[in-house]
Symmetry: C2
Subunit: 346 residues, 2 copies
Amino acid sequence: MSRSLNIAVIPGDGIGREVVAQGLKVLSTVLPQDVKLETKEYDLGAQRWHRTGETLPDAELEALKGHDAILLGAIGDPSVPSGVLERGLLLKLRFAFDHYVNLRPSKLFPNTSTPLAGQPEIDFVVVREGTEGPYTGNGGSLRTGTPAEVATEVSLNTAYGVERVVRDAYERANARPRKKLTLVHKNNVLVYAGHLWKNIFDAVGQEYPEVTTDYLHVDAATIFFVTQPERFDVIVTDNLFGDILTDLAAAVSGGIGLAASGNINPTGAFPSMFEPVHGSAPDIAGTGKADPTATVLSVALLLRHLGFEPEAVRIEEAVSADLAERDGSFRTTDEIGDALSVRVAS
Amino acid sequence: MSRSLNIAVIPGDGIGREVVAQGLKVLSTVLPQDVKLETKEYDLGAQRWHRTGETLPDAELEALKGHDAILLGAIGDPSVPSGVLERGLLLKLRFAFDHYVNLRPSKLFPNTSTPLAGQPEIDFVVVREGTEGPYTGNGGSLRTGTPAEVATEVSLNTAYGVERVVRDAYERANARPRKKLTLVHKNNVLVYAGHLWKNIFDAVGQEYPEVTTDYLHVDAATIFFVTQPERFDVIVTDNLFGDILTDLAAAVSGGIGLAASGNINPTGAFPSMFEPVHGSAPDIAGTGKADPTATVLSVALLLRHLGFEPEAVRIEEAVSADLAERDGSFRTTDEIGDALSVRVAS
Ligand SMILES: CC(C)[C@H](C(=O)O)[C@@H](O)C(=O)O
Ligand SMILES: CC(C)[C@H](C(=O)O)[C@@H](O)C(=O)O
């Protein structure tokens, strides 16, 4: 019996294509012989928008549903008005495919530089809610462009949406050795959403007696990210706070070049999507300077999500070993991808 | 002719009273002989709420209006439900007195510890909007406590409110040697509020041709706070982003024990309020461990606001000199206050 893996690939903009190529290289190397890898590329992003005015046509959204998972490089270009591709493509995918778990692990690998003094222990994962909060596009503007303009943004939060992501976070915390879960919100100011989150967090916690819990306001959480990152194990938080915290987390744990993410639909109703946290970095596109490691680590998350746990671990170990031997000399995107490929093959 | 300074003092909770005492000590020492200092204490905070159920009665709000400025220690205690004192006292004051400029300078003084490697140059000021955004208390909850609950938080933004704080930030940037202003928002997702901010930022910028401008998404800004804090001069941002960024800024520039803030009404229609960024820290209240420096620096901001520029500078120089001579040995709250008093006197 032969198995197959059917991956949709969205290279996107800027360095997206370069890093995705390395991700696929490692993916095809690490897969067991009996697994047939099929990939289909989708031409979405800035160029497509310039050419056709389309961000994500219905037919392509429909076609994407047929894949086991999606690998995305990066979306965005300064030539496109801010918000067009984010709302019309990236967020549209997250919402259409109900990616309610936005998973962002942070690990400071050995021999990896951090802006923090004293090389702290960092090994936590942020479970960012992916389908609610201030990201729903609910808002508007009245008397736009006049001195009397009023603009609103509405954060929408439901018990349904919060409960499922909080439960996912408890499961993840329960499966880790330290079994610690921190809720981050701002419930002293955003009292309605904050109390919803806190009440559900406490209620679901009853079902996980072995998980130690903690609550932090988002402002205080940023302090601990730089002064005591070792205090975190699993963090669960809202869509916007998760966006902010995971960039900071990436910065302190080796930089945005290493930060992987998964936009996950745990029910399997829709394909999950894996992407590096970094953007399209048009300033270095084509120079070979992009570090594909974040994409390769995103491939590990993809494999884990699809049940290829040993292969995911092989990739993570390869990255760890590769980083441990980096001596600061320049390697191209391709060279890093090759080095990782060689490691996962052996 | 004799002048007088009539300050309302809200010691508040936890370490609030201890640090405020040092702030007043330094204030009375630094003031010119001919200025008569009058202070009136307001009993507001957790104890008052426990005793009477009141957070900020109308009569006291009215009385506070008669002062030249307000010095606040810290508000909050775990015994009070989250949000009660924040919304009912702290934010009520900021909103009632139209404190639309929440001013938060960050400076890494010499010989001061930072969690960042390599002792970077940090000297920037965040102008945080203080009366709009997600802080207006606009939101609600439906079917509260049931599995069908929906909770909203509405971010309100007006051209009126954004324009005045952006203008204030340009003025501050224009008055500084580097003349650089960075807008921080998330206009690729929060498109309505984000475009309002960006359009006004660009329009007002026309009037300040000497100010160099820059835009960053809030997530990217947190990265630069830890990797390149020296790139910032003046930052202008929304109420919630400002809350998050200024805690992070405090963390990287010597810790929350040094971070001062002013809730300023630049028109003078209402008294401005000065407070350390830190909270009430009930765990160390009464132990003498609280560092009063943030409060003393807030007094400097108060003096500057009221036109006592030389006195403000004297305090800042005293703090700088005091920090430069710290050798890590423990000094009590009172001892630090005394040391700063002695320095500003000479
Ligand atoms: C590009 C943007 C829409 C996106 C987000 O805000 O979620 C990005 O910052 C991320 O974190 O994946
Ligand atoms: C206590 C809280 C309401 C307050 C805020 O969110 O503004 C605090 O965090 C601050 O930054 O002054």
